[in-house]
């Protein structure tokens, strides 16, 4: 019964939804129609971005209310959230992951490393930024980006 009391005392922790983010609509958004399944790919990140992505789906930011949901297989996914500079060992798996997603599909690069290799630029194990490996449709800058920025990017994809 402790949990019940906890639920009652806590109430709603999700913050009120901020206004819909600016920016032109992506072509696929229309087809998604407010439902986006997300597959995360860690292509070599320091895990800072992963923590923020987890934050974006927690009760406070609650990305799920805009229709985004994490899934376990790229076959189920519409969007690949790619983090980190793409390491040599992850380049091929990343290509395969994106190829395994059914059309229409989008790739979102999360974090500075994913956009331009960030701190790791020129590292011996780094193949390049995400856009060097797969076409990127949307980028979320930041090192790491704040959860609300990730949520805002996802909202541009879901259109809600």
């Amino acid at each position: 019964m402790g949990l019940l009391r906890k639920i009652r005392d806590t109430g709603r922790v999700a913050e009120p939804a901020p206004p819909r983010p600016e920016g032109e609509q992506l072509s696929a958004t229309q087809e998604f129609g407010g439902s986006v399944q997300v597959r995360c790919v860690d292509a070599g990140s320091c895990n800072g971005c992963e923590i923020e992505i987890a934050g974006a789906f927690n009760p406070v930011y609650d990305a799920e209310r805009y229709g985004a949901r994490l899934v376990a297989s790229p076959r189920h996914a519409d969007v690949a959230l790619v983090t980190g500079p793409v390491t040599r060992n992850m380049a091929e798996p990343l290509r395969r992951t994106v190829a395994a997603m059914p059309e229409p599909r989008l790739v979102v690069a999360v974090g500075d490393c994913a956009i331009n290799c960030g701190e790791f630029a020129g590292g011996y194990g780094v193949e390049g930024a995400v856009c060097d490996v797969v076409p990127v449709d949307l980028a979320v800058p930041g090192c790491p980006p704040r959860p609300d920025e990730i949520v805002a990017a996802l909202r541009r994809v879901t259109g809600r």
Binding site: S73, P74, P93, R96, A99, A100, E103
Partner: protein, 678 residues
């Protein structure tokens, strides 16, 4: 009326003609001709059976045919049912066998000996139910055992395991014969005659002890023939090692005769008995149902799996037979008739799907040389027709709609559920357990056949043999197609059997409840009713499937083309077929759940590299699920026999005089006993 004797005579003539044909003919035409003769035996015998099911009766005696007693034959609807089933299976399997033999040359089933015996075996399958005297019955029974034994041995040159299986089979079937001989002899002596008519009229005057003794002896023999646990040990050995056509005949026609014997002796001749007989029978049936299917779930040898599934299905049938006895004892002939009809219907259905499954397994074995599911896979692309036929048989075996097994298991469940109307604390306790047993075995059967189909036929081939498989020759496919048609007919219009089933039930004195008629099944008792229409289910499913497909197509009308893509490999290298689940891994959760029952043997050997104990060079893992009942029950007996044999060797010193002396003293002792006795 004269159809039955004519058909039986034709069958006999064809079967007997097959013996010289198999021995003399050159190899080129042997298979085809003997196969045609065997098919003829099947058709003729099946015709006789159908005629008997249609209400025909026949009885004849040939006093001179056998010494002392003469031969007696009688055919009623109960015999007719088993003859019709055996006839249909024999005819289809014979066609299959022609194709099977054609590829094998003169080895195995194609050899002179095997081809000469095959028609005779088919004939005995058809004649055993027609026997109407103890001596005739026993003679045919033994002939059936011997011919099947020779057929099991057919491939003994190819694999040494065949010989061991044959020894097991020979010993167990002859122990069964001894029990049967003892039981029926006591019965005949007490009844004062050896024809079934004499036994029937004499059973009333016998003391309960003698009746009980007769029943226990004969029931033990019959259940062993039916492959029931714990007397099943021959079955999972002989079925896999026999040529597949023979396995099909044994599993779909021969084991049925165990049930026939049980029903004939228990109900018809002895006229039913006290509750403990039937509780015993039900206990054996329930045990085999669950234990058989559990062992099938653990098996990765395809034919062994099918053999254990036979044990399970016969268990379900015998469970029904036992329940019928229980209800009859309580005085409810209507319910007894209903549940017996369900059991007999399951015999028919099981024969249809099991012969089909064994046929398909034979095709796989022929195409790949492999029975181990772990080494097969991907066959659906290379042998699509065989895979489809196996799937059809498996649908029957899992007892789900729209398969034919579902029809009879539904009826069996219904009759058990409604059996609670029979007063008494025994039924109230036994029936829920029986329902649970049927349900558990049906659930496990689903897992078993998903495994057999999914691991053996789906995904990609695991070995080169499986990858190089080729579709079977036309005649094998034709034989299986006949059986598939039979399965489909039984699944969609069980009403085909209709009155025949009622007559078979009425032949042992129970009320026919007409559970199967026209469009479906209907159970109607005093206070209960239930109905099932398999055809409706199929139509409904088809319509729904069509609607779903059409709706999906409409909803995604701006349809993108269906894309072929590589399997999702988690981004790593493409998954190799060796990564796919095998039959062993598929069964692992069940093995763990039923750990206490199965007692699997596992051991892990870790070999470290020479330099360090922490670096592993090789890990060997062995997992074996032995037949536990067999281990616990047979091993001590075998050990005892071996020990006894050792000590008996002292008697056999090698001196011929001593041997003659034993005979002499034995004779004298016997005479002394006789003199003193009188």
């Amino acid at each position: 009326m004269s159809l039955i004797p004519a058909a039986l005579a034709t069958a006999t003539a064809l079967g007997v003609a097959g013996v010289p044909a198999g021995l003399i003919l050159p190899q080129r035409v042997r298979g085809a001709l003997v196969g045609s003769l065997t098919a003829g035996v099947g058709v003729a015998g099946g015709t006789a059976g159908v005629a008997a099911l249609g209400g025909g009766r026949f009885s004849a005696s040939a006093p001179g045919l056998l010494p002392l007693a003469g031969a007696h034959f009688a055919v009623d609807a109960l015999s007719g049912l088993f003859m019709a089933v055996a006839g249909a299976v024999v005819a289809a399997v014979a066609v299959y066998g022609i194709g099977y033999v054609a590829g094998h040359g003169s080895h195995g089933l194609g050899s002179r000996g095997a081809q000469a015996v095959l028609p005779l075996f088919a004939l005995t399958l058809l004649l055993v139910p027609a026997a109407a005297a103890v001596s005739t019955f026993l003679l045919l029974w033994e002939l059936m055992a011997l011919t099947s034994l020779l057929l099991v041995l057919a491939e003994h040159r190819a694999r040494p395991a065949v010989r061991e299986a044959a020894v097991w089979y020979a010993v167990m079937t002859h122990l069964g014969l001894v029990l049967l001989l003892a039981g029926l002899s006591v019965y005949a002596a007490q009844a004062g005659g050896e024809t079934f008519a004499a036994l029937r009229s004499g059973s009333g005057a016998m003391s309960p002890t003698v009746r009980g003794l007769v029943f226990v002896l004969t029931a033990t023999a019959f259940t062993s023939k039916a492959g029931l646990v714990p007397l099943h040990a021959w079955l999972p050995r002989a079925h896999p090692e026999a040529p597949s056509a023979v396995s099909a005949l044994m599993s779909a026609a021969m084991v049925n005769l165990g049930v026939y014997g049980l029903v004939r002796v228990g109900f018809d001749l002895l006229g039913g008995g006290p509750a403990w007989w039937w509780l015993l029978v039900m206990a054996m049936g329930g045990l085999s149902a669950v234990y058989g299917i559990l062992q099938a779930a653990m098996a990765s040898d395809l034919k062994r799996l099918l053999a254990y599934s036979t044990s399970e299905n016969m268990g379900l049938v015998v469970l029904g037979v036992g329940a019928a006895g229980l209800f009859a004892h309580a005085g409810d002939k209507a319910l007894a008739g209903l549940v017996l009809a369900a059991a007999l219907l399951h015999v028919v259905n099981h024969s249809a799907f099991k012969s089909l499954l064994f046929g398909a397994a034979g095709s796989v074995l022929r195409a790949t040389g492999e029975r181990n599911l772990d080494l097969l896979g991907g066959l659906r692309a290379r042998m699509p027709i065989t895979a489809g036929l196996f799937a059809l048989g498996a649908l029957g075996a899992v007892a789900l709609p729209p398969g034919n097994g579902f029809v009879s298991e539904w009826l069996l469940l219904q009759s058990m559920i409604h059996g609670l109307a029979v007063p008494g604390v025994t039924t109230a306790i036994v029936l829920p357990l029986a329902v649970a047993v049927i349900a558990l075995s049906a659930g496990l059967a689903a897992a078993v056949f998903v495994k057999a189909l999914g691991v053996g036929f789906f995904a990609r081939p695991r070995t080169a043999q499986a990858a190089a498989a080729q579709e079977s020759p036309l005649l094998m496919l034709a034989g299986m197609a006949l059986l598939a048609a039979l399965c489909t007919a039984l699944a969609l219009v069980p009403g085909l059997l209709g009155d025949g089933l009622d007559r078979a039930v009425a032949a042992v004195g129970f009320a026919g409840m007409h559970p199967v008629s026209g469009g479906g099944l209907r159970v109607r008792l005093d206070e209960v009713s239930a109905s099932l229409s398999p055809l409706w289910v199929v139509v409904a499913l088809t319509v729904a499937l069509g609607a779903v497909t059409a709706a999906t197509r409409w909803a995604s009308r701006r349809q993108r083309r269906r894309m072929n893509a590589r399997l999702w490999d988690c981004g790593g290298g493409a998954p190799t077929p060796r990564m796919a689940y095998t039959a062993t891994s598929f069964a692992e959760p069940l093995q763990r759940v039923f750990d206490d029952v199965l007692a699997p043997e596992q051991d892990v050997d870790v070999t470290p590299v020479r330099e360090s104990a922490y670096l592993v060079e090789r890990v060997a893992f062995r997992n074996r699920v032995p037949d536990r009942i067999e281990h616990r029950l047979y091993r001590p007996v075998l050990d005892f026999l071996a020990a006894a044999g050792q000590s008996a060797r002292r008697l056999a010193g090698g001196s011929v005089h001593a041997y003659l002396g034993y005979g002499f003293f034995g004779l004298v002792a016997l005479l002394v006993v006789l003199v003193v006795g009188w």
